[in-house]
Symmetry: C2
């Protein structure tokens, strides 16, 4: 590959999303000469594979970003708040996967298939939306363009990988213990997640919603259109990876179902799987490890004029996090919005 002269930092390189970021940078031949892996003290000295070499993980500090052009953050909101401004001061553009800056009016919140233009007004930080929002807005964007969305009622079926590696371990351990008639331990989730489902993701707010639910409400408005009203119920289910969503959309205008299906099939980042007769519809186990957002089960909602139901599935670690972050970084470079040699 030709030298680009660019250096990318990955903050949170040993986490579930960080590992996925490194994999995607490599898969997509990302135009950078150096990748700097950063993480907490706990991971100091670990080695991670990248382009056939072992990269040493260094501790994330305010001094980590000298000569870094793009810093991809996925180390939790507290670390983003602490270190993203330092990265910007060092001259890097930050693409942040935490919720820390998402609703900051100064910070663009970007899904490249939906609002790539927002990138250009960045002031050093670009926020990556929440996983459950990203996959939904990728599917909604073409629909909104033709029929104008008025209201969305969404219920989610979210995998444990969104919580991180410890949650994936907890699901596996609880499952094994239950199958062996042993006591289970609850460390990550407040209740048993194996063979159960929890209507509780992130913490509860005064209004009765969880933060996760309000992310879907507020981020959709910011990314797609402030006129769109969303109500959400977000639920954790015992799936390892891949979020599924049951989406009900009310449009302002009448629509033709076959036209919408065709439109979705040719829209960027989307794959339509919608042949019920062949039991073809999006599935978490099939979306896991893949880049697209899958949509299916498209059908007219007979309870309301101009309304539609569909089912939407994506790999929450990839399109829901790491891939979208890398796509934003790629757009930054393509638009000449980072220091280029």
């Amino acid at each position: 590959m030709r030298s680009s002269g660019l250096t990318v930092a990955v903050a949170g390189a040993t986490g579930a999303v960080g590992e996925e970021m490194l994999a995607i940078l490599e898969e997509r031949d990302f135009p950078c000469d150096e990748v700097r892996c950063l993480a907490s003290v706990r991971s100091e000295g670990k080695r991670v594979e990248f382009r056939g070499r072992k990269l040493v993980v260094n501790v994330l500090t305010a001094d980590s970003f000298e000569d870094v052009d793009v810093a991809l953050f996925s180390a939790g909101g507290a670390r983003s708040l602490e270190f993203a401004p330092a990265a910007v001061r060092s001259g890097a553009v930050v693409v942040d996967n935490s919720s820390a800056f998402r609703m900051d009016p100064e910070t663009p919140l970007v899904v490249p298939e939906v609002n790539p233009h927002a990138i250009s007004r960045h002031k050093g930080i670009i926020a990556n939306p929440n996983c459950s929002t990203i996959q939904m807005v990728v599917a909604l964007k073409p629909l909104h363009d033709v029929a104008r969305i008025r209201r969305i009622v969404v219920s989610t079926y979210q995998s444990v990988s969104g919580t991180g590696k410890k949650a994936m371990d907890e699901l596996a351990r609880q499952t094994v213990n239950l199958l062996n008639f042993k006591e289970i331990e609850r460390k990550v989730y407040p209740h048993q997640i194996a063979f159960n489902c929890l209507p509780h993701i992130d913490s509860f707010l005064e209004n009765g919603y969880t933060k996760e639910e309000m992310k879907m409400v507020n981020e959709t408005a910011k990314i797609l259109d402030p006129a769109i009203k969303v109500t959400a119920t977000t639920v954790r289910i015992p799936v390892v990876n891949g979020h599924s969503e049951s989406v009900n959309v009310e449009f302002e205008r009448p629509y033709d179902l076959d036209e919408l299906r065709t439109l979705l099939a040719r829209s960027p980042g989307l794959v339509v799987e919608d042949e019920p007769a062949r039991t073809l519809y999006p599935l978490a186990i099939r979306a896991s490890g893949q880049d697209p957002v899958y949509v299916g089960r498209l059908r007219r909602d007979f309870s309301c004029p101009n309304a539609l139901n569909f089912w939407c599935v994506a790999d929450n670690l990839r399109k829901g996090a790491a891939l979208n972050t890398v796509q934003i970084a790629r757009e930054l470079i393509g638009r000449g919005l980072v220091r280029t040699p």
Copy 2:
């Protein structure tokens, strides 16, 4: 117990629901002197426990119902169509758990907490609604009484016990195999159910909906109010027993959230679990084995005037099937609608 002189038949006595029926007849000291266990040839001669005795399972035929007062059917729609009329001709009142007669205008479709009055117009058969409908209408009934429901958007999280014992085995077997890195077999469901979720319950119809989804639409209208519009997405998740539902309700009238919560808490068959700060909300693993319908996560839907979101969980084998059937049978006796000695 005092002799009632009544004989109850259980058709499908060795299935997941049939076993639950026998357990509930015993738990509730059901006023009958004899229980006759019927099933297919495959189960002939099996013995089932009831009131400390072993009852022999006989083959279900048209001649099985002599002297039977109440026949509880849970042997599949085909067997109900074949043998329920014979039971009626023998003088029994049939309470049928299959979908065979539910939408027949001559057949009452009953949830005792919701429309017990419908029982009295029976012509020999009373239908038990679908599991996913029953728990929802128990929760909706008090809400409809005070605020008039206009429209419902529901997404379900349904356990495998609703499919039967073979599906429970399939979930366990697939889970064990996946944890041991072995190939899995798919016999009951068209796709892997372990660590996955399937937006597909029962078969698909021409309109893009599944039969399960249309049951929620049509049965809710028949039981509660034909003016109520419902749209549903029904999803199978890897939970052993207990269905969960994310329910969005639009009312005609304004409501007070605390009043609705209080109303639900004192309504029959309902338990409110709604203290998010203590992570108290309904859970499938806790509802399993219990009689009530649990509701929680009650919160105003800010996307639409007079709308509400809630989360509703029940044991689909009990309130969703066997318990509701036994409750109907108890109502029949209480109202003197079967032959009494």
